[in-house]
């Protein structure tokens, strides 16, 4: 159940996508997300899906594994879909009681849902193909220039590394505590909402205690190794921009151009396709 969350999970591999410079991958993901908002019609999505599909194919992450990550936000997608479908004014299609489904509403609903799905898949692909350590290395390096205005880039990156690192640990811990309390007859699956919320106490208290314990142990271990922040720290793996990164940059530029072209000339393209 809680193991289904794919965000922040790494799918091991040695493919071209896996080996790209994390700084580039973060930038490309951001560009992809922004580009999605430039898409005006379904033809634009065809381009985006083709690009995303290409990357997934190269990365060899199984589609099922990626889609499992969508389960967590399924409710949000359904909710957005329903709101868009029922609350958009326009030509009515079907009437169900109070609600009217309009042509524009249905169109908008599919459009928004697709955008959400692509957003999630795009960003989860980043974490699926990048080790958390590399990811935060990339973030630190990208935030580097902001240090002049006082942004603690290294500290932020370190906090993120630690947070990501402990997601699986805390999930495991939760699982362990739940099982232990279930073995004592605790029931998390039935009863009213209030009852169920109360039933969470036997999980939350031990979880907090163990989270604090883990944090304390970690702080102690870091201090014992003389950790004292980013100043003057060198890296074991220095990030380097290589030829595959240049190729990826070109492909991204091509993708952005295609999206923009499609947006500007969408009417002409449609007219052309209709021929």
């Amino acid at each position: 159940m809680i193991r289904d969350i794919t965000i922040g999970q790494y799918y091991p591999g040695e493919t071209w996508v896996h080996r790209l410079d994390p700084r580039l991958k973060i930038t490309v993901t951001l560009i992809f997300i922004v580009a999605l908002f430039f898409v005006r019609d379904f033809l634009g999505y065809v381009i985006a899906i083709a690009a995303l599909g290409g990357v997934i194919a190269i990365s060899r992450v199984p589609l099922g594994f990626i889609l499992r990550g969508l389960k967590a936000i399924f409710i949000i997608i359904v909710f957005t879909f329903a709101l868009n479908m029922f609350l958009t004014a326009g030509t009515p299609l079907i009437k169900i009681g109070f609600f009217t489904v309009t042509r524009e509403g249905l169109y908008g609903a599919v459009f928004m849902a697709l955008r959400l799905v692509l957003l999630i898949i795009g960003s989860s692909l980043l974490t699926l193909t990048t080790k958390p350590i590399k990811l935060t290395d990339g973030i630190e390096s990208l935030l580097g220039p902001l240090r002049v205005i006082g942004v603690p880039a290294h500290e932020l990156a370190m906090m993120m590394t630690i947070a990501l690192r402990f997601i699986p640990t805390l999930l495991e811990e939760t699982d362990k505590i739940m099982k232990a309390q279930m073995a004592r007859g605790a029931d998390f699956e039935s009863g009213s909402i209030l009852r169920r919320a109360k039933n969470l106490i036997p999980i939350l208290v031990p979880l907090f205690i163990s989270a604090f314990r883990i944090a304390q142990d970690l702080a102690m271990a870091m201090e014992a190794r003389c950790y004292r922040g980013g100043e003057g720290r060198t890296k074991l793996h220095v990030l380097k921009f290589e030829s595959r990164d240049a190729a990826a940059t070109l492909l991204t530029a091509l993708f952005v151009l295609l999206i923009l072209f499609e947006r500007v000339y969408s009417d002409e393209i449609r007219a052309f396709l209709a021929l």
């Binding site: 099922g64 232990a180 309390q181 004592r184 007859g185 605790a186 029931d187």
Partner: protein, 288 residues
């Protein structure tokens, strides 16, 4: 309660890159009131196996019967089963959460829906079974107890459910010698009462020999050996080869034999070793 496991197979993280087989066609039967020692190297599947016995994990294939009920079946009533099977995990102190020891031990009985008086009886009874003085400890916070006391409080919380099967995953791990002895004495008491079936997971062969009627050895997710202690520990070479030890006395006798002393095998405890040593020395005397 009797337990029957048939061709149990379990795989972790199926269809993901982290897929690992954990149990491979495990089968055995445990009769009512038996005291089983379950041993095996780290990662041999012991903890996975015991989680199947109260339905916390579902098998990929195979069956688990508790009494007459098949708990591996779809839609089996697991809450009832969990009430009959007390499971104590490794380093179980983390499951303490209440303000007082009393309330924490009462958590299980309260989940059973018992009345206040019945709950009170059970808390007192289980605290005395594990050797925690009621007046001293009942109203203290479980978080201010020592490691050994915490362990006792947790076990009391499981015993308070009055399980018919008690499964303990390394109950002595990480305890000081005195608490370890207390724990063993408590287990011996439980064994003598003969009211419950016990499965004890342990890495300490001396403990296992001292209290188990029968030993099941797991290796790479399979049952490698299954029988009374004397029979299982006769496979000295095999046990050492899979990274398990022998009881101290057996180890000692084995070393003697390796060094050319022609002495009979089979001693598992210090007393038995003493007997066979004196027999050996007397025999030698007579020859002279």
């Amino acid at each position: 309660m009797s337990i029957k496991v048939k061709d149990l197979v379990h795989v972790y993280g199926e269809k993901s890159p982290y897929e690992t087989p954990a149990l491979d066609k495990v089968s055995f039967e445990i009769a009512d009131g038996e005291f089983i020692g379950l041993i095996g190297h780290t990662g041999s599947g012991k903890s996975t196996l015991v989680q199947h016995l109260n339905g916390l994990l579902k098998p990929k294939s195979g069956q688990v019967f508790i009494g007459d009920a098949e708990i591996s079946a779809k839609g089996a009533k697991l809450t009832d089963i969990r009430r009959k099977i007390g499971l104590l995990f490794q380093y179980p102190e983390y499951q303490l959460f209440e303000e007082t020891v009393y309330k924490d031990i009462a958590f299980g009985p309260a989940n059973l829906g018992l009345s206040k008086d019945d709950t009170d009886d059970r808390v007192r009874e289980s605290m005395s079974t594990v050797g925690l003085d009621f007046d001293t400890f009942a109203q203290r916070s479980p978080f201010e107890l020592s490691g050994g006391q915490k362990r006792k409080a947790v076990i009391a919380g499981v015993i308070a459910m009055r399980p018919e099967v008690l499964i303990l995953d390394e109950p002595t791990a990480g305890l000081d010698p005195k608490s370890q002895r207390d724990m063993l004495d408590m287990l011996l008491n439980i064994k003598e009462s003969r009211r419950v079936t016990v499965i004890l997971i342990s890495h300490n062969m001396d403990d296992v020999v001292r209290i188990a009627d029968r030993i099941i050895v797991l290796e790479k997710g399979r049952v490698a050996l299954d029988g009374p202690p004397a029979e299982v520990f006769a496979h000295e070479e095999f046990l050492t080869s899979i990274g398990l030890g022998l009881p101290l006395a057996a180890e000692f006798m084995r070393e003697l034999r390796i060094r050319g002393v022609d002495i009979e095998g089979g001693a598992l405890t210090a007393d038995e070793a003493e007997e066979s040593l004196s027999r050996y020395l007397k025999a030698k005397e007579n020859v002279r």
